[in-house]
C-alpha cells in the first residue's frame, strides 16, 4: 500500500473503528430503557411555535400542553365525555346559560401555589385581550360579552360573563346556550396560566415573553417542563404538586420534533420512539403485512374536500357542481390510492361528531353525472371549458388531484388543469378566491357537528367559496340558540342537506390518524380528537 492509499483510507478506517467500538458497547434502545424508567419517547412532528396555551394553534403544541396544563375538565380518552379536571364538579342551570365550576382545593401549580378561580379569570382576560392577538380567542366567544371585549367594543373586563365568588368557585355566564361547552372547555385555549409568572415576564397581554422557557414555566398539569432545546427535544417530568400525582405512572416524556415522517418511521423501527405522529402512506401496506401489532389507524374528526368557487363560470351552475361530485369514485381513492383506512365521504360532517351522523347522500353515479352536465348545457356541441384544480404542494394532494382529474376526464370528458402552489401562496389564492376548485381539509377542535357546519354561513371566515344561502344561515342560527340535542341535530341535518344539495364544497374522504404505537404503551385509546391525556398512559 503506498502513501496515497494510506492517506485515502484513513478517514474510512476511522469510521469503521468508531462504529466497531460502538457496536462492542452494549446498546439498550431508548424504548427499552424508557420502559424501565417510565420515560415515554414521543414523535411530535414539528418544533412547537411556543408553549403558551393562549398563543399556539397547532396539534404538536397541544400534545405538549396536555402534559403541562389542565383545564377545568378533561376528556375521557375513550368516549370524549367530560371528566373532572381542575374542577372537581360543575352545575349547569336548566337553561344551559350558567356554568358553575367547583375547583379542587387540592389543585396546585407546579411551584406549589394553589390553583384559584381568580387564576382562571386572569387567563380568560389574557386570551381575550385584543393586544395579545390570540388566534384562538374566538373559542371563548360563547361567554357573554367575550367577543365584544376581544374586538375592543367594550374595555371593561368585569362586563364579560365570568366571575369568581371565592377561590374555588368559577361562574361562567354564556350569552346563549352552547351544548358542546364542556367539550370546548377542554381545549387548550381555556387552560389557565399562572398570573404571577406572566406578570413577572411582561404585562398581561405581552405576546412572546420568556415565561414559557424551562425554569420559568409554571403549569398546573400532571407534568412540568424540564428541558427545551429548539428542534431537538422537549422534556417534561412528573409534577409532584399535581393533585392526582400518585396516579401518574409515567415519570418523564421526551417530545422529539421529527418533521420528516420517513425519519420518524426509521426512528421507531430502531427503538428510538414509542409513538410516532404519522406513518408515510407507502409504509402502511408493509406494516399491515409484517407488524400489524404496532400499526394504528384511528378515526379522526376531519374531512378532506374540494372548495368550489361558485362565483366563477361554469361552476356557478349547481348542476355542474353536482355532476363533478357524482363523478368522483371516492371508494377507489381510499382503497387503491390512500390505503390508510380513510372513509369515503358520503356527507360533509364525519360520522359520530358529538353523536351526530348524517345519512349517506354523496354518491358515485356517472350516468346521473353525465345527465346533469348535459342539463347544464354542456355536451359535444358546447364543450365544458377547462377548469383549474388547485392544491398546496404535497405528494398526497397531487396524487388525489391526478386521480380526480382522470375520473372527471373519463366519466365527464372534462379537462382539468392541475395547479400546485406553495403553502402560503395557496392560502393567499383561496382567501382571495383566486381559484376554480381547491383542495382543503378541516379538522375539528371540539366534538360537535357545529364545527363543520357553521363555517359555511354567509360571510364566514372559512367560507372561501362565495356561496351564500339564507335558509342555511337561518338553520345554523336556530341550532345555535337551542339546548335541545334532538332539535339542534334536526336543524343541522336540514342545513347539511342544503349544503350537499348546493355543493359549494365537494366532500372527498374522512381523515384517519395513521401512526405507530409500541406495544409497551398502555392506555393509549383511539378517539376522534386525537386527545391522549398522559395521566392515563403507562409503559409496561
Amino acid at each position: 500500500m503506498n502513501y496515497a492509499s494510506r492517506f485515502f483510507l484513513l478517514p474510512v478506517l476511522c469510521f469503521f473503528l468508531i462504529s466497531f467500538h460502538i457496536n462492542c458497547t452494549s446498546r439498550t434502545s431508548p424504548v427499552d430503557s424508557g420502559i424501565k424508567t417510565g420515560t415515554l419517547h414521543f414523535g411530535n412532528q414539528t418544533e412547537p411555535q411556543d408553549l403558551d396555551p393562549q398563543i399556539v394553534t397547532g396539534v404538536p403544541e397541544f400534545h405538549i400542553l396536555e402534559a403541562l396544563f389542565e383545564g377545568l375538565v378533561i376528556l375521557d380518552p375513550r368516549t370524549l365525555e367530560p371528566l373532572p379536571g381542575a374542577a372537581r364538579s360543575w352545575d349547569i342551570t336548566s337553561d344551559g346559560l350558567i356554568y358553575t365550576f367547583h375547583l379542587r382545593s387540592s389543585a396546585r401549580w407546579s411551584n406549589g401555589d394553589p390553583v384559584k378561580a381568580s387564576d382562571f379569570l386572569f387567563s380568560f382576560q389574557r386570551i381575550l385581550s385584543p393586544a395579545l392577538g390570540a388566534e384562538y380567542a374566538y373559542m371563548l366567544y360563547g361567554i357573554k360579552n367575550a367577543r365584544e371585549f376581544n374586538t375592543s367594543e367594550i374595555s371593561d373586563f368585569s362586563r364579560v360573563g365570568v366571575s369568581a365568588p371565592d377561590d374555588t368557585t368559577l361562574v361562567i355566564n354564556l350569552g346563549k346556550p352552547v351544548p358542546y361547552f364542556l367539550s370546548l372547555v377542554a381545549h387548550h385555549s381555556w387552560f389557565p396560566v399562572h398570573p404571577a409568572t406572566i406578570l413577572k415576564h411582561g404585562k398581561i397581554d405581552t405576546r412572546g415573553s420568556a415565561w414559557t422557557r424551562p425554569g420559568n414555566l409554571i403549569g398546573n398539569g400532571p407534568f412540568k417542563l424540564t428541558d427545551w432545546e429548539v428542534n431537538r427535544i422537549i422534556s417534561v417530568e412528573k409534577n409532584p404538586f399535581y393533585w392526582d400525582s400518585s396516579e401518574i405512572k409515567l415519570s418523564k416524556i421526551h417530545f422529539f420534533p421529527l418533521e420528516n415522517n420517513m425519519t420518524e418511521e426509521r426512528a421507531f423501527r430502531t427503538g428510538q420512539l414509542h409513538i410516532t405522529a404519522n406513518l408515510p402512506p407507502q409504509k402502511i401496506a408493509w406494516y399491515r403485512e409484517n407488524r400489524p401489532e404496532v400499526l394504528r389507524i384511528d378515526p379522526y374528526l376531519g374531512t378532506y374536500y374540494y372548495l368550489v368557487n361558485v362565483n366563477k363560470k361554469p361552476l356557478d351552475n349547481v348542476n355542474v357542481r353536482r355532476a363533478l361530485s357524482l363523478a368522483i369514485d371516492r371508494k377507489s381513492l381510499t382503497d387503491n390510492l390512500l390505503k390508510g383506512g380513510q372513509i369515503p365521504a358520503v356527507c360533509f360532517t364525519p360520522p359520530n361528531a358529538g353523536g351526530y351522523s348524517f345519512e349517506p347522500t354523496v354518491r358515485f353515479d356517472t350516468t346521473e353525472a353525465r345527465r346533469l352536465l348535459a342539463e347544464a348545457g354542456y355536451g359535444p356541441s358546447n364543450p365544458f371549458p377547462s377548469v383549474t384544480l388547485l392544491y398546496n404542494t404535497s405528494e398526497s394532494h397531487h396524487l388525489i388531484a391526478q386521480a380526480v382529474q382522470q375520473m372527471w376526464k373519463k366519466y365527464l370528458g372534462i379537462d382539468v388543469v392541475l395547479l400546485n402552489q406553495e403553502w402560503k401562496v395557496y392560502l393567499s389564492s383561496t382567501q382571495e378566491k383566486n381559484y376554480d376548485i381547491a383542495r382543503m381539509g378541516w379538522i375539528s377542535d371540539y366534538d360537535d357537528p357545529n364545527s363543520f357546519l357553521d363555517m359555511w354561513v354567509t360571510g364566514g371566515g372559512n367560507n372561501r367559496t362565495g356561496w351564500s344561502n339564507s335558509a342555511y344561515d337561518s338553520l345554523i342560527e336556530l341550532a345555535s340558540i337551542t339546548n335541545n340535542k334532538e332539535i339542534r341535530f334536526g336543524h343541522f341535518r336540514k342545513a347539511e342537506s342544503i349544503l350537499l344539495s348546493e355543493l359549494p364544497v365537494i366532500p372527498v374522504y374522512f381523515y384517519t390518524n395513521v401512526y405507530l404505537l409500541h406495544p409497551s404503551v398502555k392506555g393509549w385509546e383511539p378517539n376522534l380528537l386525537n386527545i391522549h391525556n398522559y395521566k392515563f398512559i403507562s409503559l409496561e
Binding site: 496515497a4 398563543i55 388566534e135 428542534n231 420534533p257 421529527l258 425519519t263 402560503k424 393567499s428 364566514g460
Partner: protein
C-alpha cells in the same frame, strides 16, 4: 495585509451586506401570503393586532429603515413563527450544531478528497486513477437525500451500529457528516488530481526528483502545496455552505441545525428569520472568501506580492 483586510471590510463587505439586506427585504415582501396566513381564518381584529405588534402596519419604507436601524444595533428582531424567541437567539442556538456538523463533514471531505486525488494522480491512467474517478463521479452524482437514507439503511437499520436520527451521542455525528461531506470529497478529489497533474510536470518537481528525494515526499511536500490552490479556492464557499447547515441532511437525520431555518423561514414567511439567515449566511460567505484570499497568498508567493501591491 491589514490594509488589505480593512479595505476589504469597508469598500466591499459593508456595501455588499447593505445591498443584500435591501434586496432580500423587498423580495420577501413580494411573495404572496403573509406570516399570519393560515388554513383556519383569523379574524380581522386579531390580524390587525398581530400586524401592529410586529410593525407590519407601518409603510414599507418605514419598516425598512426601522429594520436597518435594528440590524446596525445587532437586533435581528423577534421571530414571527416562534413568538417567544428572537432571531439572534435562534441562530445562536442552531449555528453551533451546524458548525460542528460542517467541520466534521469538511474534515472528512478534505482528508478523503485529497487522499483520493493523490491516489488518482500517483499513476494517471492506471487502475487507481479509474477507481478514484468512478468514486468521485459517484459522489457527485449521488445527492445527500439519496446517500443519507442509504447510509441509514446500512449502518443504522441493518447493522444497528448507529442511531438513525438525533444529535445526542458522538456516533450521531458519523452518518450526517458522511452524507454531507461526500459530494465535496468528489469535487476535492477531482481538483486535487487536476492540480497535481499540472504541478507534477513543473521544473521544480523535476529538480526535486533529480536531487533523489523520495517520490512520496516530492508529491506530498512539493507538488501538493501548489496543487492545492484550486482546492483552497473551492473550499471557501464550500466551507461557508457546510457550516451554515444543510436543510436536506438536517431533516433526514433530525439535526437541530441552522439549515432547516433557511427553508422553513421562507415557507412560513417568517420575515425576520429569513432576513436573519440571509444576513448571517452573507457574513459567513464574505468571511470565508476573505480567508481564502489570505490563505492563497500564504500558499503562493506570487499572489502574496500582488496582494501587497494592491494593498
Amino acid at each position: 495585509m491589514i490594509t488589505f483586510i480593512t479595505r476589504r471590510l469597508f469598500f466591499q463587505t459593508v456595501p455588499s451586506l447593505f445591498l443584500i439586506v435591501t434586496v432580500a427585504f423587498f423580495l420577501i415582501r413580494l411573495a404572496p401570503g403573509g406570516p399570519f396566513a393560515s388554513e383556519k381564518s383569523i379574524s380581522p381584529e386579531v390580524l390587525k393586532q398581530l400586524n401592529t405588534h410586529y410593525g407590519l402596519d407601518k409603510p414599507i419604507l418605514v419598516q425598512y429603515t426601522d429594520y436597518l436601524k435594528n440590524v446596525v444595533r445587532g437586533d435581528l428582531g423577534p421571530s414571527f413563527k416562534y413568538p417567544g424567541r428572537n432571531v439572534t437567539e435562534l441562530i445562536a442556538e442552531a449555528f453551533p450544531v451546524s458548525l460542528e456538523l460542517g467541520v466534521y463533514a469538511l474534515l472528512f471531505a478534505i482528508l478523503a478528497g485529497i487522499g483520493a486525488g493523490l491516489l488518482a494522480a500517483s499513476k494517471p491512467g492506471g487502475a487507481r486513477d479509474y477507481l478514484s474517478t468512478i468514486l468521485s463521479t459517484s459522489g457527485i452524482c449521488i445527492p445527500s437525500f439519496v446517500l443519507g437514507p442509504l447510509l441509514v439503511l446500512l449502518f443504522g437499520l441493518k447493522l444497528g451500529l448507529v442511531n438513525v436520527s438525533g444529535w445526542s451521542s458522538a456516533s450521531d455525528r458519523i452518518l450526517p457528516s458522511l452524507s454531507l461531506g461526500m459530494v465535496y470529497v468528489a469535487y476535492i478529489a477531482r481538483l486535487t488530481r487536476g492540480g497535481l497533474l499540472e504541478t507534477m510536470v513543473q521544473d521544480y518537481i523535476r529538480t526535486a526528483r533529480a536531487k533523489g528525494i523520495p517520490e512520496s515526499t516530492v508529491m506530498i511536500k512539493h507538488a501538493l502545496r501548489g496543487a492545492l490552490l484550486p482546492v483552497v479556492s473551492f473550499l471557501g464557499p464550500a466551507a461557508a455552505g457546510l457550516i451554515t447547515g444543510s436543510f436536506v441532511v438536517e431533516t433526514i437525520f433530525s439535526i437541530p441545525g441552522l439549515g432547516r431555518f433557511f427553508v422553513t423561514a421562507a415557507f412560513n414567511r417568517d420575515y425576520t428569520m429569513i432576513m436573519g439567515t440571509v444576513i448571517f449566511y452573507a457574513i459567513v460567505i464574505i468571511f470565508f472568501n476573505t480567508l481564502v484570499d489570505i490563505t492563497q497568498a500564504l500558499l503562493d508567493p506570487r499572489l502574496r506580492s500582488k496582494l501587497n501591491e494592491k494593498a
